[in-house]
């Protein structure tokens, strides 16, 4: 791949960011993190109070990429078949009846799993299995999901009654957990000015084709990353383990389980994608640091003491971040 091609793809993603920003006010970091997930072909968990633009963000992204977009509103009575599809009895022209697989909304490129914690664990598991395998099996038949395939699940952190929080093992399957904060006053005014209170993504134009996205994904996968950076990422993740020598005090005191190796992979892949989006030609320490929080925040399991004392995970992670220096000896 030539530099020209690399620069072209980077420019395309820059345009994509600008296109999304024309609809989404604020949330620059969130947009970037969503695109990082997209470039890595991974799934994201968005957490924020209702009305912050989670659905709008995903819909805008789908439109800007020209990809098939599906939204699944998770409710307690949502069944797995409602997501993956079901076999239905169909009568043909000759009057013969046969079963035919009716594809569910999961057969899309971008899926918004809205309020995933409202569905029952059974339904959640069906989605998560599809996310992991990138294929579904119905009545012995396996259906491959088309690339790119990306699930953006949202969670409402305030309405916990009647919800089924995702188990840690399933949360770990999400590449990033992106926290959406409330917009600032200025951003809120800008939202009112630009949209007039009506959430519409109609004006979004497609800036990237599916092929270009897949090409960018392949490029990011082989993005040059020096070994000291991999070591730095590994040390960061390793320091979240309470038994680790490098673990800071908060980790030793309040963490039950640290981040998994999948977190280290997320850190490196995310850093590569971040470097790509930043217009660089190699991964940097700054890229690792930029994706440190979204990669690890949902992968730290506090112990009873940590939960009882209400120690926030991001506080623990901040100590890890400050404790581990890039140039320290192994």
């Amino acid at each position: 791949m030539t530099e020209k091609r690399i620069r072209f793809l980077q420019e395309k993603f820059h345009e994509l960011i600008e296109e999304i920003r024309s609809v989404i006010i604020g949330h620059e970091e969130v947009i970037k993190q969503v695109l990082i997930g997209l470039l890595c072909g991974q799934h994201l968990l968005l957490e924020g109070v209702p009305g912050l633009g989670k659905t709008l963000l995903v819909r805008t992204l789908g439109k800007a990429l020209g990809l098939k977009f599906a939204r699944i509103q998770f409710t307690p009575d949502l069944m797995p078949a409602d997501i993956i599809g079901t076999r239905i009895l169909v009568e043909d022209e000759t009057g013969r009846r046969h079963f035919e697989f009716a594809r569910g909304p999961i057969f899309a490129h971008l899926i918004l799993a809205d309020e995933i914690n409202r569905a029952t664990p059974k339904t959640q598991s069906a989605l998560l299995e599809a996310m992991q395998e990138r294929s579904i099996t119905v009545s012995g038949e396996t259906y491959q999901l088309e690339e790119p395939f990306m699930v953006l699940a949202t969670q409402n952190p305030i309405e916990m009654e009647g919800t089924y929080p995702l188990p840690e093992a399933q949360i770990d399957r999400f590449f990033f957990k992106i926290m959406l904060r409330y917009p600032s006053l200025g951003e809120l005014e800008e939202i009112l000015r630009r949209h007039g209170g009506v959430q519409e993504a109609r004006a979004v134009r497609q800036v990237l084709t599916r092929e270009e996205l897949l090409e960018a994904q392949r490029l990011v996968a082989q993005w040059p990353t020096a070994s000291p950076l991999r070591r730095y990422a590994a040390r960061l993740v390793y320091a979240t383990q309470p038994a680790s020598e490098d673990a800071p005090e908060l980790v030793k005191k309040y963490v039950e389980y640290g981040a998994s190796p999948r977190a280290a992979l997320a850190l490196i892949w995310g850093a590569k994608a971040h470097a790509f989006l930043s217009g660089e030609l190699n991964t940097r320490v700054a890229d690792i640091q930029a994706v440190f929080y979204p990669s690890l925040i949902h992968r730290i399991i506090r112990n009873f003491r940590g939960e009882a004392e209400g120690i926030p995970v991001d506080q623990i992670l901040r100590q890890v971040y400050e404790h581990i220096q890039p140039t320290e000896a192994r």
Binding site: P224, T225, S227, P228, N282, P326
Partner: protein, 522 residues
């Protein structure tokens, strides 16, 4: 802009330098700290002092060794480039490029990153700076070095060669012993071989003069040679004699200014001390050192110290000298070798001294045989025995006093012997009144002066001597009594000038005779 390889090479060199300086700083910090402790310990007398060259050389060796070891430490290039990247804020391009060159990662990124690197200004010193700790270490090292130098400079310079520190803590008497020992060592340092050669040449000249006198007892040239040899012998004896011992400060000061007025300066006191005692001292020193040299190889350092302590009671100078040698060497073998060298030198000087005395006796006998009969009353004695004239009576002493005052005016010391019969230092010049007989033989010197002055190639100093000779008051009448006009003569120079100047043949003998006649006068 430099290529990546050039940047990498310079970074590696810098890293080696930093490693070297780091290790050297640690090593020097330790060694200089130890040096300070040793110097302090030496100064307060806990242990022996460390000589300047020893600690300086030791620390330099330690520092240089540590630096070399640090320089040779293996360099992890990946780590190095990563650190440089972080320091230079070069977005980890150096390390990524290096790994891409090694084959890790997609090759297509290589030219892209290389192009990016070309725009990167690389300051190697900024990329790999010396840590603050190391810089502080070097400041401390500099301070320690200054402290060490300061402590060493308190020690006298002589301590560089001979043991330095002990004298400070010793009493005044041991100070004198140390000074005396050092004085003797310095005296022994002057090689005696030169004197041996000179002695043999003097003997040859004596033999030649003696042979010439055998043929012609009145050969003036041979007699002049003998006179000159005599003067030289006295000089050499002076040089060969051991230096006089130092005078204790309290003693030299006396009880006040009056005492110094009466007793004279320390120098005078020193020169007035009899020479025989020094010769005796030298003999005792030789004997004591010989005994130490014979016993030392069989003794341990502790036993040797005891022996020296015992020796101090009988011969403190020998004990101090041996002790200084021991502190200088710290090795029984080397100690013995040095001691042997000193003993050899002492013995050689003793032998030379005897030889000189023998030669002097021979010379005196030859001079006595060739002495022309003295027909004048009150004529001066032989210049070798001028001291006897001082004891003859007040009237003669007065006339002598006039003479010696005149010689002092000219800055010339007349030949005189010590009480032991040993001659004191002299310049080789003599003083003598005019001999009327010799003058009567002299042709018209005023004419000769006019002819001799424009001699080419003559030095002003030489001309001055001739000028003194030819402008003296010459009596017209040989019978008339002479006023005691003093003439200053350097015999060797006269001889040389006679050969050098183009003095007419018919005048040369007359001039020589004239000078020789002067030499017969006391």
């Amino acid at each position: 802009m430099p290529s990546f390889e050039a940047i990498r090479a310079s970074l590696e060199r810098r890293q080696r330098l930093v490693h070297g300086l780091e290790l050297a700083s640690w090593a020097l910090l330790g060694s200089l700290g130890a040096t300070v402790l040793m110097l302090v310990g030496g100064a307060v007398g806990i242990w022996k002092a460390v000589p300047f060259f020893a600690w300086m050389l030791g620390n330099l060796c330690i520092g240089a060794g540590a630096f070399v070891i640090g320089w040779l430490r293996p360099v992890n290039t990946v780590e190095l480039l990563f650190r440089a990247d972080r320091q230079l804020r070069s977005q980890e391009r150096l390390v990524t490029l290096y790994e891409l060159k090694l084959g890790y990662g997609p090759k297509e990124f290589l030219p892209l990153l290389e192009r990016q690197l070309e725009q990167l200004p690389v300051n190697v010193a900024y990329a790999l700076p010396l840590s603050l700790w190391v810089r502080r270490c070097w400041i401390v090292i500099a301070l320690l070095a200054v402290v060490c130098l300061g402590m060493t400079s308190l020690v006298p310079l002589s301590s560089v060669f001979v043991h330095p520190e002990t004298s400070r803590s010793q009493t005044a008497s041991s100070d004198l012993e140390s000074q005396r020992a050092f004085q003797l060592l310095e005296w022994l340092r002057t090689p005696s071989t030169e004197l041996t050669h000179k002695l043999s040449s003097m003997r040859e000249r004596l033999e030649r003069a003696r042979a010439a006198l055998a043929l012609d007892p009145s050969d003036p040239r041979a007699r002049a040679t003998l006179q000159h040899l005599h003067a030289e012998l006295i000089q050499e004896q002076q040089r060969l004699a051991p230096p006089p011992p130092p005078i204790e400060e309290d003693q030299s000061k006396g009880s006040g200014p009056e005492a110094s007025l009466v007793e004279g300066s320390p120098h005078e006191l020193r020169s007035s001390q009899p020479r025989g005692s020094e010769t005796q001292e030298l003999a005792q020193l030789l004997q004591s050192l010989r005994s130490v040299s014979e016993t030392a190889p069989h003794l341990s350092p502790e036993e040797l110290q005891k022996l020296l302590e015992k020796l101090r009671e009988t011969n403190p100078t020998a004990a101090t000298l041996a002790e200084q040698l021991w502190q200088l060497t710290q090795n029984p073998e080397e100690f013995r070798e040095r001691l042997e060298e000193i003993l050899r030198e002492l013995e050689a000087r003793q032998a030379l001294r005897e030889h000189l005395e023998h030669l002097q006796r021979e010379l005196e006998s030859v001079l006595a045989q060739t002495e022309p009969p003295v027909g004048r009353e009150g004529s001066p004695e032989d210049p070798l025995n001028t001291t006897t004239s001082r004891e003859e009576g007040p009237s003669q002493a007065r006339s002598e006093g006039q003479r010696s005052s005149a010689s002092e005016t000219h800055g010339v010391q007349s030949l005189e012997s010590s009480e032991e019969g040993e001659p004191s230092a002299g310049t080789g010049r003599g003083t003598a009144p005019l001999d009327p007989e010799a003058i009567s033989d002299l042709p018209d010197l005023s004419q000769w002066r006019e002819r001799a002055l424009p001699v080419p190639g003559a030095r002003s100093e030489d001309l001055e001597i001739l000028f003194e000779i030819v402008t003296m008051e010459l009596p017209q009448d040989a019978e008339s009594s002479l006023s005691p006009v003093l003439v200053q003569i350097d015999y060797a120079k006269v001889e040389a000038l006679l050969d050098l100047f183009e003095i007419p043949e018919e005048l040369r003998d007359a001039v020589r005779r004239y000078f020789l006649s002067l030499s017969n006068q006391p």
